[in-house]
């Protein structure tokens, strides 16, 4: 079997057994990118030199017997994570020229674990989008059907892993941006509990919702990678000082007796019937393994989308104020005066979706509108959290679809933001409540992958990974590779 079809767990074993070197592995990834990425547009920056240097260092560590479980494993970072010395664009013209002087905590931690950074992946501009069409660098294409979107905003990472250009990649999830693309390209995507992974060095979109996570081929790989990125960081006041369990060790637990809540509100008229059937089939697998399923209702969950589209734009309107053309990033040519500098730098540097959200956010925070929008949204957010809390008093995890439909065609929804926003209807709830959630492949509709979403209570990542792993031992959906990328 070629190297690119290996999971991280398998690659790590091969590296330790010296069947291949980290340099060979890095070269294999670089070759795959060179051969396949042009039509996919998954990578914004490929770091050949740095990757090979890191791989050589990893090989030395392996030879010296200093290798950890991830030493020498090639990975990619979503271009939202700051990487010292390499440009970090966030998918925006605004940061086209931005070279970060420092590493994000996630970058630092994966580096410290001995991984090899191959490159930075494409994304929706400032992570605002559900299809990867808002990137300044052009859309990413879905390896299963290049006329379709890979989902967003972590579309580059998702496509890169699905096409087996790299074994896994980082992503961020503010309103489904890891899980929805993972579902749409048929891989495993984990969004941890808010505060589980440091946000330091991860360019902010909506600070109270943003959370870093992983896109991988399997739950096992996700467990390995989460262990290496999670943990308290004194540089992020919202990161939680909670011990990081051994996620890999927890994978093998049986799921017998697991109480699964079937999210009633998710099986609504918006859900494509064939997707619904695949999700129900997946639940049947869990029942066969001895899990119990009950239907659970979260009455306020349908308010997730409108709530999210008040809270997230409000925070983004403030977070993105720092891009003013003064200290870094895009600056308009020959400004007449200060106001002109601001207006044109921001007008020319940001794309239409980012502007739409900044304007929405500015509006909902304005004097006279704050109570009606922002404050009310915060109250609804509270109600949604309460719904989840009540549900988790009854069940161990909640399950449902990740996305209402399989991947749609590029361009199909770009002119209709509301329809586009509804794509995130099943994923946003976990962000609003700060809960961990994972998407795993559970079948295909019209040759396009469909995802099953599992949501758990705070810090239940081990339980989610355990359930996902049990499912992946029973099914082969996660092992399917798109045609042309085998």
């Amino acid at each position: 079997m070629s190297l690119h079809l290996h999971t991280i767990a398998q690659l790590a074993e091969g590296l330790r057994a010296r069947r291949f070197s980290s340099v060979e592995l890095a070269r294999a990834c670089l070759a795959r990118i060179a051969a396949h990425d042009k039509p996919l547009n998954a990578f914004l920056t490929v770091m050949e030199e740095e990757a090979l240097a890191a791989a050589r260092a990893a090989d030395a560590a392996i030879a010296a017997g200093r290798a950890g479980p991830l030493t020498g494993i090639p990975l990619a970072h979503k271009d939202i994570f700051c990487t010292a010395g390499t440009r970090t664009t966030c998918g925006s013209r605004m940061l086209d020229n931005f070279v970060s002087p420092y590493d994000a905590t996630v970058v630092e931690r994966w580096k410290a674990a001995g991984t090899v950074l191959i490159g930075k992946t494409n994304m929706d501009e400032f992570a605002m989008g559900s299809s990867n069409e808002t990137s300044y660098y052009g859309p990413v294409r879905n390896p299963w059907n290049r006329d379709c979107v890979p989902g967003g905003s972590s579309g580059g990472s998702a496509a890169a892993v699905a096409a087996r250009l790299v074994p896994a990649a980082s992503g961020t999830d503010t309103g489904g941006s890891i899980r929805q693309p993972a579902a749409l390209v048929g891989i495993t995507g984990l969004k941890p509990t808010y505060g589980r992974v440091s946000r330091y060095g991860m360019i902010a979109f909506a600070s109270s919702l943003d959370q870093a996570g992983v896109l991988a081929q399997t739950a096992e790989d996700a467990a390995l990678l989460l262990g290496a990125m999670a943990g308290f960081d004194p540089r992020d006041s919202t990161s939680v000082d909670e011990p990081v369990p051994d996620y890999v060790a927890a994978l093998a637990r049986p799921v017998r007796g697991l109480r699964i809540g079937l999210l009633k509100e998710f099986f609504d008229e918006g859900l494509e019937p064939r997707n619904a059937r695949l999700v129900r089939d997946a639940l049947e697998v869990f029942r066969r393994l001895g899990a119990e399923t009950v239907e659970v209702s979260l009455p306020n969950l349908p308010l997730s989308v409108p709530t999210y589209y008040v809270v997230a734009p409000a925070e983004c309107s403030s977070n993105l104020s720092r891009y003013d053309g003064v200290r870094f990033g895009y600056r308009a040519e020959n400004p007449r005066d200060l106001l002109d500098l601001y207006k044109r730098s921001r007008g020319e540097g940001f794309g239409p979706e980012v502007k739409r959200r900044i304007m929405t956010g500015t509006y909902v925070l304005s004097a006279g509108y704050y109570d009606a929008y922002y404050l009310k949204a915060q109250k609804v957010r509270q109600l949604i959290s309460e719904d989840f809390r009540r549900a988790f008093a009854q069940v161990d995890v909640l399950m449902g679809p990740t996305s209402p439909t399989p991947a749609f065609r590029i361009g199909a929804k770009v002119d209709d933001p509301i329809t586009m926003y509804l794509n995130d209807i099943y994923t946003i709830g976990a962000n609003l409540a700060g809960l961990p959630a994972i998407s795993v492949p559970c079948g295909f509709v019209d040759e396009l992958p469909v995802g099953l979403q599992i949501i758990g209570p705070f810090f239940s990542e081990a339980r989610l990974l355990n359930a996902a792993h049990a499912f992946q031992k029973e099914t082969q959906w996660h092992s399917r590779v798109p045609r042309g990328y085998e």
């Binding site: 700051c82 330091y200 902010a204 104020s321 003064v326 922002y374």
Partner: protein, 498 residues
């Protein structure tokens, strides 16, 4: 000024209402959210790290030292300390505001409902309410001087912790406003939470000023005065603004809510921006920072670090040293003055009597610290901490007044000498032969010679012109080089003139 004088005659009909917003830069070692040093005067942009520069991806982490200082202020003003307060973002664009928002506190500040007492001119006390005191970060500075066709940005100050102290609109005159401002200034320095340096901008003040007809309950429309960063300017700016508003109202006009800038060169306030032009700051809780929790243990811990506060100290000075409220107030205006004064009293011995001067030792010390010493310091532009005459040397000299070695008058000469030389009072008295003549024989001889030399005046005196007593004192003093002991001389003269 003509305007202010003109208003003076009508002032009875109008009531002035003032509230002050003081920005005190907290003397923490590091900035409030970034860990950068807070040193003043360094080369531009050398004291700013990525957090201060608002780089993509960076996050604020609260400096607990700043919180302790805010709590200290709250405790010192009898305020309530919020067990949970919220940091909010104040959004506006300005080149010296790197993130496009300032992290401040809005709806739930750390300190609420405190009070400070001020001493009015008539000697009575007035309690001024403190609405709130909240923590926030300072902005950087825009530099225009010496730059052509562009502006410079210095972000060294960006992120420096500020405590914004907002008073109730309890102040009724510019003088009260100044008294309050001085009181806040004294307090923050006592607490060692702010160096109080107004030139460097570490203690700044804005004033909200309005007027209303006497007896009216509703507040008038206010103007916010900026750039009044000295005690003198505060008084002048308020007086100008009050007169302006009265003139507008009496002319049938309306005061508009606006921000006005004080121009000290022209002594006037000018409109900066109206309410309509004001920013909508779109405050909302900062999602990067958790609510600030302060528990009872921390409050108790901070309480233990509270020094003796100015009011307590002034009361003690009144009680222990028999000083008037005014004297006690002046001598406790700063910890340095109070410490100096107490050191002088200790050196002198609190219970010593200044025989010749009919004064208690503490009062004698008070007179000299507030009089000669303070005058000399002012003239030299020095703080008491670097006085050319140490408290020990001053006590040494006062001891010579107390034991009648020198008179108060001679002491002034000794003081001047001490100011310019290193020697102690005793050495100066010795070298210059300033020792008081207490030998009654010597004084008597001088008196006799004086009376013999002035027979006409003697005759007049005896004929009832008793005012000439002073003349004889003067003559004897002149003859003895001012060294005759005044009490002894008086007694002898009275006897001889009979």
């Amino acid at each position: 000024m003509a305007l202010a004088r003109a208003a003076g005659v009508r002032v009875m009909e109008w009531e002035t209402v003032i509230g002050l917003e003081v920005h005190a830069q907290l003397s923490t070692h590091a900035k409030i959210f970034s860990g950068s040093p807070t040193a003043f005067g360094a080369a531009p942009n050398t004291q700013a790290n990525l957090v201060d520069l608002g780089y993509p991806g960076v996050l604020p982490v609260l400096n607990r030292e700043a919180v302790r200082m805010a709590v200290k202020f709250g405790l010192a003003t009898g305020a309530s300390i919020a067990s949970r307060s919220i940091f909010a973002r104040k959004n506006y664009f300005y080149p010296d505001l790197p993130k496009g928002y300032q992290i401040s506190q809005y709806e739930r500040p750390v300190v609420e409902e405190g009070t400070l007492d001020i001493l009015l001119e008539d000697g009575s006390r007035k309690t001024i309410g403190i609405t709130r005191a909240h923590l926030e970060e300072d902005a950087g500075k825009s530099l225009h001087e010496g730059l052509r066709s562009f502006s410079g940005i210095d972000l060294n100050r960006a992120g420096t912790p500020l405590l914004e102290i907002v008073s109730e609109p309890d102040l009724r005159s510019a003088k009260e406003a100044v008294a309050y401002l001085k009181k806040v200034h004294t307090l923050v320095r006592y607490l060692e939470i702010c160096d109080g340096n107004m030139q460097e901008g570490s203690f700044r003040c804005d004033a909200n000023v309005s007027v209303r007809r006497a007896g009216e309950a509703k507040l008038g429309t206010r103007a916010e005065l900026k750039n009044i960063n000295s005690f003198r300017f505060v008084e002048k700016a308020i007086n100008y603004e009050v007169a302006r508003q009265i003139e507008v109202l009496e002319g049938g006009g309306r005061v508009v809510q606006e921000t006005r800038l004080y121009d000290p060169d022209k002594d006037e306030t000018r409109s900066m921006r109206s309410k309509e032009e004001a920013n909508d700051y779109r405050y909302f809780p900062d999602p990067d920072l958790l609510p600030l929790a302060i528990d009872a243990a921390m409050i108790a811990d901070v309480r233990r670090t509270l020094p003796e506060l100015p009011d307590e100290k002034a009361q003690r000075f009144g009680r222990d040293y028999g000083l008037s409220a005014y004297d006690a107030g002046v001598l406790t205006a700063s910890r340095e003055i109070a410490d100096y004064y107490e050191s002088v009293v200790r050196g002198l011995g609190k219970d010593a009597k200044a025989a010749g001067e009919q004064l208690t030792a503490p009062k004698l010390a008070a007179n000299w610290v507030m009089g000669e010493l303070s005058g000399a310091l002012n003239k030299a532009g020095l703080e008491i901490g670097v006085s050319r005459i140490s408290s020990k040397r001053l006590a040494g000299m006062l001891a010579r007044i107390a034991d009648s070695t020198i008179s108060g008058k001679i002491a002034k000469e000794v003081f001047e000498a001490m100011w310019s030389e290193e020697r102690d009072a005793d050495a100066i008295i010795e070298a210059r032969g300033l020792k008081q003549i207490t030998d009654s024989g010597a004084i008597e001889r001088a008196v006799d010679e004086c009376l013999a030399a002035n027979p006409a005046q003697l005759a007049d005196y005896r004929a009832g012109k008793e005012k000439l007593f002073g003349f004889f004192v003067g003559q004897v003093m002149k003859a003895t080089g001012g060294k005759a002991n005044p009490a002894q001389l008086n007694e002898l003269l009275k006897r001889k003139l009979k």
